[in-house]
C-alpha cells in the first residue's frame, strides 16, 4: 500500500503539488491521471524518496521509502525520465541494480526475457528506441519481484502491440495481489487498464474514484439524437422535468435526460414515427475534461454536478 498524506512540494516559488492525500490499495491497478504538468511525476518522485516533501509524508507499506531495507523488493519503479546510463548495456545496467540487493544474475536474465529484450540486452542502452527504453525500465522495476509497482507513463512510446503487452502484464501483476500505481494523461488508456483512479490537476486532488464511476458519469451525459418527420409531436411527448430538447436540424432533435429506450417508448406511445434513434455517448476524454474542468469551476465558486453533466453533453 502507498499512502500519500498531505504532501506539499515546491520547486522554488512554484508549487508542484499541494496538500495531496490519497491511498493506493493492493490488488487493483490504480491509475494516476492528470493533464501534463499536474504533478504526477513529482508525486511519484516524492513517494520514491528522490524528492523531499516540503510538508506531509509519503509512505510505502507504512514506511518512508528512504527507510526501506530492501527497496527493490518492496517497490519497483519506472520514472518517465530515463534513469539509465546511455553508455551501459541493458544487461549491465540491470546487473548493477541487482548487485546492490544481492539479486542473482539469473533473475537479471529472467526479467530481460520477460520484457522481450534478449536480442539487444548486450547493446548500449543509449541506442535504444523509446519503446525498448520503456521495456528496459519495466525490467528494472520487476527486478526485485516487488509487491508494489510505480510506473510513470509506461505506455509512452510503445506501439499498439507493446501497449497491449504491458496492459496484460499489469493486470496479471495486480491479480497476483500486488499494488500497481501507474500514471497517464490519457483517460482512454486508463479506462482499459485501471480500476481505481486518482485524478489530480494543478497539484491538487480532483478525484479519488473508480473508473466505473467515471464511465457512469460519462453516460449521464448521453445525448439521444432522434430523427422524425413530426418533431413537434415528439417534443410534446417527451416534455417533462429534467429533459432537455434542442433541435439541430428541422427534423432532428437532441434529447438529454432520457435513454434511447425511453425516447423510443415515448414515441411509440403517441404514435410518432421515428426515422433514426441514436445514443451519442460522451467519450471518456470528455468525462475526464468535465471532471477536471468541473473542479476549476468549483474553485470559482460555482455549479452543481448537474451542470457538469450537461456540459459533458454539450
Amino acid at each position: 500500500m502507498i499512502e500519500v498524506d498531505h504532501v506539499t512540494k515546491r520547486y522554488g516559488e512554484k508549487v508542484a503539488i499541494e496538500d495531496l492525500t490519497f491511498r493506493v490499495q493492493p490488488g487493483v491497478i490504480t491509475g494516476f491521471l492528470g493533464p501534463n504538468g499536474a504533478g504526477k511525476s513529482t508525486t511519484m518522485r516524492v513517494i520514491l524518496g528522490l524528492d523531499r516533501a516540503d510538508a506531509g509524508a509519503a509512505t510505502v507499506n507504512g514506511r518512508p521509502y528512504r527507510d526501506l531495507r530492501a527497496p527493490l523488493h518492496d517497490v519497483g519503479a519506472m520514472l518517465e525520465a530515463r534513469a539509465i546510463h546511455t553508455g551501459r548495456s541493458a544487461y549491465n545496467h540491470l546487473l548493477a541494480m541487482a548487485q546492490t540487493h544481492g539479486i542473482a544474475r539469473s533473475r537479471v536474465t529472467e526479467v530481460i526475457e520477460m520484457v522481450g529484450l534478449e536480442q539487444v540486452a548486450r547493446k548500449r542502452a543509449g541506442g535504444f528506441s523509446l519503446g525498448m527504453g520503456q521495456r528496459l525500465g519495466i525490467a528494472a522495476a520487476l527486478l526485485g519481484d516487488p509487491e508494489i509497482l510505480i510506473l510513470d507513463e509506461p505506455a509512452n512510446g510503445l506501439d499498439p502491440e507493446g501497449i497491449l503487452w504491458i496492459r496484460t502484464l499489469l493486470k496479471r501483476l495486480a491479480a497476483e495481489g500486488r499494488t500497481v500505481f501507474l500514471s497517464s494523461h490519457l483517460m482512454a488508456e486508463m479506462a482499459q487498464t485501471a480500476e481505481h483512479l486518482v485524478v489530480i490537476g494543478k497539484g491538487r486532488l480532483i478525484a479519488d474514484t473508480t473508473v466505473s464511476e467515471v464511465v457512469a458519469q460519462a453516460s449521464l451525459g448521453t445525448t439521444v439524437r432522434v430523427r422524425t418527420p413530426d418533431p413537434e409531436g415528439l417534443r410534446r411527448a417527451l416534455a417533462r422535468d429534467g429533459v432537455q430538447i434542442s433541435g439541430r436540424e428541422r427534423d432532428v432533435l437532441a434529447v438529454n435526460g432520457l435513454s434511447s429506450a425511453e425516447v423510443g417508448e415515448a414515441a411509440a406511445a403517441v404514435g410518432v414515427v421515428l426515422h433514426e434513434l441514436v445514443a451519442e455517448q460522451a467519450s471518456l476524454e470528455q468525462a475526464f475534461m468535465a471532471l477536471t474542468g468541473g473542479q476549476v469551476e468549483f474553485h470559482a465558486g460555482a455549479p452543481s454536478t448537474d451542470g457538469t453533466a450537461q456540459e459533458v453533453a454539450a
Partner: protein, 277 residues
C-alpha cells in the same frame, strides 16, 4: 520483442530478503565502473601514460646526455623521471573521477542508483572506495613498470636508483598515492557540482590554474601560498627531490591534500543527502 501474450509468470518467489548491503553496493559500483567504454579507455590511457612517459623521457635524456650541462647531470634524478608519468595520467584520473558521479546525473542513472539505495550515502562511499582502489592499484603497477624501465635505461650513465635507496620506494608508491587522492577529490567535486563540465573545470582550475595565478603574484606571496595549493601539496609524496625549495614536508603536504579530498567528499555527501535527485 514481439511477444504480446505474457508467457511465463514472473515467479513470485517468496524472496529471501537480501536487502541493501555495503558489499552489494560496492559490487554494483565495481560493475558500473567497468561496464562503460569511456571508463575503460580513460583507465587504459592513464595506465599507458603513467607507465610509458617516464621511460620515453629517460630515453631522450640519455641520448642527449653529453649535451647536458654538468649541473643538470649532477642533479639528475632518475626517480623523478620514473614517476613523471603522473603529469599526464593525472588528467585522465581526475576527469574520470568527476565522470564517475557527474555521468550519473547527466544520464539520469542517479535516479536508478538512489532508488536502489535510498539512504544514498553508501552510493558515494562505494564510488570513492572502488575508484580509489582501482586508481591506486593501476597507478602503482604502472609506476613500478616505469621505475624498472627507467632504471634500465639510465644505467648506461650510472644514474640509476634501486628501490632500496632512501625515498625510492616511497616515491614510486607516492605517485600512486597522489593520484588516488586526486581521484577521490574529483569524485567529491562531481558530487558537489553534479555536472561534468563544471566538475572538470573546477578540477583543472584547482590543480593547474591556481599555481599559475599564484606565480604571477609577488614572489614572497607566491612562496607563502604555493606550497598549500592542492597540486604542490599532493605531489610532495611523489617527489624524490625538489627543484623548488618552497614545499611542505612529504607527509605534511600529502596529508593536506588528503584533507582537501576529504573535504570535497564530505561536501559532496551533504549535497547528496540534502538535494533532490
Amino acid at each position: 520483442m514481439s511477444a504480446v501474450g505474457v508467457s511465463e509468470p514472473p515467479a513470485r518467489t517468496t524472496t529471501p530478503e537480501h536487502g541493501v548491503t555495503l558489499a552489494g553496493v560496492l559490487r554494483s559500483e565495481w560493475t558500473k565502473l567497468w561496464t562503460l567504454r569511456s571508463t575503460r579507455w580513460s583507465l587504459l590511457f592513464a595506465f599507458v601514460a603513467m607507465a610509458g612517459l617516464g621511460p620515453l623521457v629517460a630515453a631522450v635524456q640519455m641520448s642527449r646526455w653529453s649535451q647536458l650541462q654538468a649541473h643538470d647531470r649532477l642533479t639528475y634524478d632518475s626517480l623523478n623521471t620514473a614517476v613523471g608519468g603522473y603529469h599526464l595520467s593525472q588528467l585522465a584520473i581526475g576527469v574520470l573521477g568527476v565522470l564517475v558521479i557527474s555521468g550519473e546525473y547527466s544520464t539520469g542513472m542517479i535516479r536508478s542508483s538512489l532508488m536502489a539505495v535510498p539512504r544514498r550515502l553508501p552510493v558515494l562511499w562505494s564510488k570513492v572506495i572502488v575508484f580509489a582502489i582501482v586508481s591506486f592499484v593501476l597507478m602503482l603497477i604502472a609506476s613500478l613498470i616505469s621505475f624498472y624501465a627507467v632504471q634500465a635505461i639510465v644505467t648506461q650513465h650510472h644514474v640509476q636508483h634501486s628501490l632500496g635507496d632512501p625515498g625510492a620506494l616511497r616515491t614510486v608508491i607516492g605517485a600512486a598515492l597522489f593520484q588516488t587522492g586526486l581521484g577521490v577529490l574529483c569524485v567529491g567535486l562531481g558530487a558537489i557540482l553534479r555536472n561534468t563540465a563544471g566538475g572538470i573545470a573546477t578540477f583543472v582550475g584547482l590543480l593547474f590554474v591556481l599555481p599559475g595565478i599564484s606565480a604571477i603574484l609577488p614572489a614572497s606571496v607566491d612562496n607563502a601560498i604555493s606550497p598549500y595549493l592542492p597540486l604542490s601539496a599532493g605531489t610532495t609524496v611523489a617527489s624524490h627531490t625538489f627543484d623548488n625549495p618552497h614545499h611542505l614536508t612529504i607527509w605534511g603536504g600529502f596529508g593536506l591534500f588528503c584533507a582537501y579530498a576529504a573535504l570535497a567528499v564530505v561536501l559532496g555527501a551533504v549535497n547528496l543527502l540534502r538535494r533532490d535527485a
